[in-house]
């Protein structure tokens, strides 16, 4: 079953067409890669799915429901969460608090928001909820081996761990679809291998679907089950890694000729 469908989405900024008629289907529990040269419009696609941009044309469907143009917070509450290319953690908050923030919408966005508000001001009947959120956040942190740093400021973590924390924070929203924007950027080779295993593990253990943008071809080819290649805002190829690697258009536009001879 298709979890996320992009139906001919187009994004124009004035006269510039950043994304032209891109269609995409991500199946449930799939790891899907989105690649392409810099400026191809990969992050723009993410921004349209998560509601940061409203597509000029076309529709975005999630679980067969149209979500085109909803504000980002509503989309997250529907079950799509993302990480950012340039890390956007809440720097002054602790590692644990960063993850707990993502659970806030469960009490602030249902019909009982007012009652939770008065509960948290009066502290009556609130502490149990707080400890529930805390233990759930700790569980998630332990998946990423970050539970030892729970009370440190998030900005004090090393770069690779900050990327992992962003994934943990996105998962804490309760999303079923994760959009990872260059999760391996700035990681060393051994951290990247760890990341590949972690992404597989969270897909299997939590039943998540992952859509990721990445420039590390080893990671993409090893991890993703299907790949779509964008160039100048248009789809130039789509298929499994073996197919995409051999596609002449992809080699011309992105991988380069060396990939065919040396890159393997």
């Amino acid at each position: 079953m298709s979890l996320l469908t992009l139906d001919n989405i187009t994004m124009k900024f004035g006269g510039l067409t950043a994304i032209g008629e891109v269609s995409l289907e991500v199946k449930e529990r799939e790891i899907f890669g989105l690649i392409g040269p810099n400026g191809a419009g990969k992050t723009t696609v993410f921004n349209m799915i998560t509601g940061h941009y409203r597509p000029t044309e076309g529709r975005v469907l999630f679980k067969e429901k149209e979500i085109t143009g909803l504000p980002p917070d509503r989309i997250t509450r529907n079950g799509i969460a993302r990480t950012f290319q340039n890390i956007r953690l809440f720097k002054d908050l602790t590692v644990l608090e960063n993850v707990m923030v993502s659970q806030h919408h469960t009490i602030a966005s249902n019909g009982e928001a007012m009652s939770w508000f008065f509960k948290s001001v009066s502290r009556i009947g609130y502490s149990q909820k707080e400890s529930e959120m805390r233990s759930k956040a700790m569980e998630l942190l332990s998946v990423f081996d970050l539970d030892g740093h729970a009370d440190e400021k998030s900005s004090s973590l090393p770069y690779g761990s900050q990327r992992l924390l962003e994934i943990a924070r996105a998962m804490a929203t309760g999303a079923t679809l994760l959009l990872l924007d260059e999760p391996a950027a700035g990681m060393n080779p051994s951290e990247t291998i760890g990341l590949v295993n972690t992404i597989r593990r969270i897909r299997d253990d939590f039943g998540l679907t992952v859509l990721l943008i990445e420039h590390d071809m080893k990671l993409v080819m090893g991890l993703c089950e299907r790949i779509m290649v964008l160039d100048h805002g248009r789809t130039i190829s789509e298929g499994n890694p073996a197919f995409v690697q051999k596609d002449v258009k992809v080699i011309e536009a992105y991988l380069g000729r060396e990939w065919v001879t040396v890159g393997k």
Partner: protein
């Protein structure tokens, strides 16, 4: 230190503070007890602005507007009908305000609610702006409130203002409300809601991407801040015993004074805001001696008015040089912090 010990220490600190306040009432003269009352009132103003500017990170410059609203509302409710008859010379006070008089406590609550209501209607359009634009918008709204107060003769008595307010604001009211304010703002900002507010302050885009409705949360903080600003306005009005719509009592100058308090105490720290408020109240009174004639090493200096503010600003500049993030930074007072502060002293 366990959580239980800390709670116990905090609970036992309350009667100690109450006892100190009681002793100050008994032993010190009325001048000092007025300053202690003012410390409580400034504390409420600073804590309520900290929730908005420090914790949720929207930069409001409209605080004085809400304080003025609170002051006018409660004054119109506590003044006796006879006094109102005598005060309103330009135009008669409209019905039903001219015939009601209610106790100070309820007047203060209503003052808070009125200010909160206005905060809601001002926040609704202006929270669509961010950063400097929001600051300018709120500044504008607070000036509008003041201009209305200046011209609505049949409600606010215009430029003549309200006078002979009953002298209700004593140490107990001020510090009692300070306790309520701190308890509410503290538990709000250290709950899930406060965490969301601080997340918005750190990164608005990421907070929204984590499912938080940024607008609603900032509006919530703005309304709660407005409520307590209204409370402080009621107390401040009854402390001054006159209310007039000039810039330097309920105008922009007051906003900047409160802003100085919270920046001095540490933007984002609630205990810092109280310290800032106390320091501001204390220094602005204590430095008055500078304006009187002095005898300095045999030189006779004639008192200069304004000298106080000069030294005052100088002190702030020095404080900001040595503590750029204010006295408390973003951290709160904690018993461990206090213990380690004194331990550090022992080692030397």
């Amino acid at each position: 230190m366990s959580k239980k010990t800390k709670t116990l220490l905090t609970l036992s600190a309350l009667p100690v503070i109450a006892l100190l306040l009681f002793l100050s009432q008994e032993l010190l003269n009325s001048y000092y007890s007025r300053i202690i009352t003012l410390i409580g009132i400034y504390g409420i103003m600073a804590v309520s602005l900290t929730l908005v500017n420090g914790i949720s990170g929207v930069f409001s410059l409209g605080h004085a507007g809400f304080i003025a609203l609170g002051a006018y509302t409660s004054a119109l409710l506590t003044l006796s009908p006879q006094q109102k008859e005598m005060t309103f010379l330009i135009e008669k006070l409209i019905w039903p305000l001219n015939s009601i008089q209610i106790p100070f406590f309820w007047a203060t609550i209503i003052a808070g609610l009125v200010a909160a209501l206005f905060a809601f209607f001002i926040g609704w359009p202006s929270l669509r702006l961010t950063g400097d634009y929001f600051a300018i918008a709120t500044l504008g709204f607070s000036e509008i409130i003041r201009i209305f107060a200046l011209n609505l003769n049949s409600i606010t008595n215009g430029a003549l203002g309200l006078k002979a307010l009953p002298d209700y604001s004593n140490v107990w009211w001020a510090w009692g409300w300070l306790l309520v304010t701190v308890a509410c703002v503290m538990s709000l900002s250290y709950s899930s809601f406060g965490r969301a507010l601080r997340a918005i302050r750190e990164d608005r885009v990421a907070a929204q991407a984590m499912g938080i409705n940024v607008f609603k949360h900032q509006l919530m903080a703005f309304v709660v801040g407005g409520f307590f600003a209204g409370i402080s306005g009621s107390l401040y009005g009854h402390w001054l015993s006159t209310i007039d719509p000039r810039t330097n009592t309920f105008g922009i100058l007051l906003t900047f004074n409160v802003l100085i308090m919270i920046v001095l105490g540490g933007l984002g720290s609630i205990t810092g805001a109280i310290i800032g408020g106390a320091l501001f109240a204390f220094l602005s009174e204590w430095l008055r001696f500078l304006e009187g004639p002095m005898n300095l090493f045999g030189f006779k200096i004639v008192g200069m008015s304004g000298m106080r503010m000069l030294v005052f600003s100088g002190l702030f500049v020095i404080i900001m040089i040595f503590w750029p993030r204010g006295i408390m930074g973003r951290s709160e007072f904690s018993w461990e912090g206090l213990v380690s502060f004194f331990r550090r002293g022992e080692k030397k």
